[in-house]
Amino acid sequence: MKVAAASLRAARFDALGLRRALSGLMVPLLVAAMTFLAALALGGWIGSIALASQWRDGAGAALTVQVPQPAEAAAHGGGSRIDAVSAVLTATPGVGAVHVLSADELSDLLRPWLGVGAERLAVPLPAVVAVQLTGGQATGGRPDLGPLAHRLEDAAPGTLLEDHGMWIDRLSYLAFSLQACALLALALVSAVAAAAIAVATRAGLAARREAIEIVHGLGATDGFIAGRFAHRAMVLAGGGGAIGALAALPVLLALAVLAAPFTGSVHGIVSISDALSALPPALWGGVAILPAAAAAIGFATAQGTVRRWLRRLP
């Protein structure tokens, strides 16, 4: 009698027989594939945000100053042009480190273009000064370099000040485009998942048409019938989403490990925990949310599809 009582419970009650009408692997597998792609797109989105901020902080905090004929006398005072430029830079507020590249460093820099022994060519080389800006100026937007350029020109005419701004702008545009593409990809896979769920729901409606009409005739509300379908679609899509997110995790980890040297987040992957921490927390959160998002898409799509279909009944 215990068994009989248990089988009379409402928990096992499947009024529309949806466990059979909405079954099979089609929806879970499609949603798993879409979630896998969504996880990759999410990785691309969050990764490009991290790279963009990395570039901005690194390159945006540096200036390069070129001083032609560095050894000649400065316009004012008794020192050389390069000494005068260094003095002006050091005295400028917001400037952290001033480093005049040595002859070796300069030839290292030029070797790819001029080959070994650039100094033996009769090419007059400018001195190159690498300037590191302090945090305040690096993060508070790009500093106004106009006055500094004027003072450098005054100390050593012909001095060039380059702030990498153009490159940062270009990289920012690139990163922004990557983010837009990733968001577009997310929107597309969501739409494809919703379409697959809508098709499966319509097939379920067709298969259970008679049962739906009977239950409707017995006084079931649209909300009851749509709720049954939505619950079923939510379970299938959520399960598929979990499978897809789990499958994407190793791929994302591998990509994060490969990207780690560029983002500077980890300086060498030696252990599993290093690899796990290579994945940004935002991406962990995003991947964890994906199955829930898939379930929500399943629920909402089935609700909408069934409610629209039910409007044909009085």
Binding site: A5, L8, A10, H216, G219
Partner: protein
Amino acid sequence: MVRFESVGLRYGRAGGKDAAPEVLRDISFALPEGAFCWLRGPSGAGKTSLLRLMYLAVLPTSGRLTLLGTDVGRSPRRVLPGLRRRIGVVFQDFRLLPHLSVFENVALPLRLAGRPDAQVRADVTELLRWVGLARKLHTPPYELSGGEQQRVAIARAVIARPNLLLADEPTGNLDEAQADRLMVLLRELNRLGTTVIVATHNDAMVERYPAAALRLDHGRLVHEA
């Protein structure tokens, strides 16, 4: 209780040159609460369509239909499910859900009404015992005989104590003894206050259980008695 005022019904689109013909025309009658009424007429006269209007499977295309105090044509769609739950129907083809057990088929109206589990179990078990199906609670309907299926259909129609009970040719699949048993049950429900309307072309049955009758012919009400 049930009031038809010049009700017309056509299936498919109204108007236009390919409009479907009216299956019911200018139907007017009123039944008081607690009435027992036969619905008679030859096959194709519109009995089933009239019942379909009364259990809200279709809405009138013209005229005014008032059921249990609600003007169904002028009510928003969301009030109709509540109205349907107060109307029990025994279909000619039973319309049981094949994927549910006998118990679950009969429990369905109570579940839809949101009754607590314990009450559902008690009421359904009691009613199925009363119609002689206590040993078939977990059987799927397709394993039952025609008479047993009909008893399940009747149990489902009355489990939620409807105000209005409609039956479409309920004795069509029954032998005479079973049909009499069913009529006793319907009269008993009627005595307890349920309005009962039974569509039939079984003249012998009507003679054995005399009551008010509506007679349809070619979609028109030809006799009200």
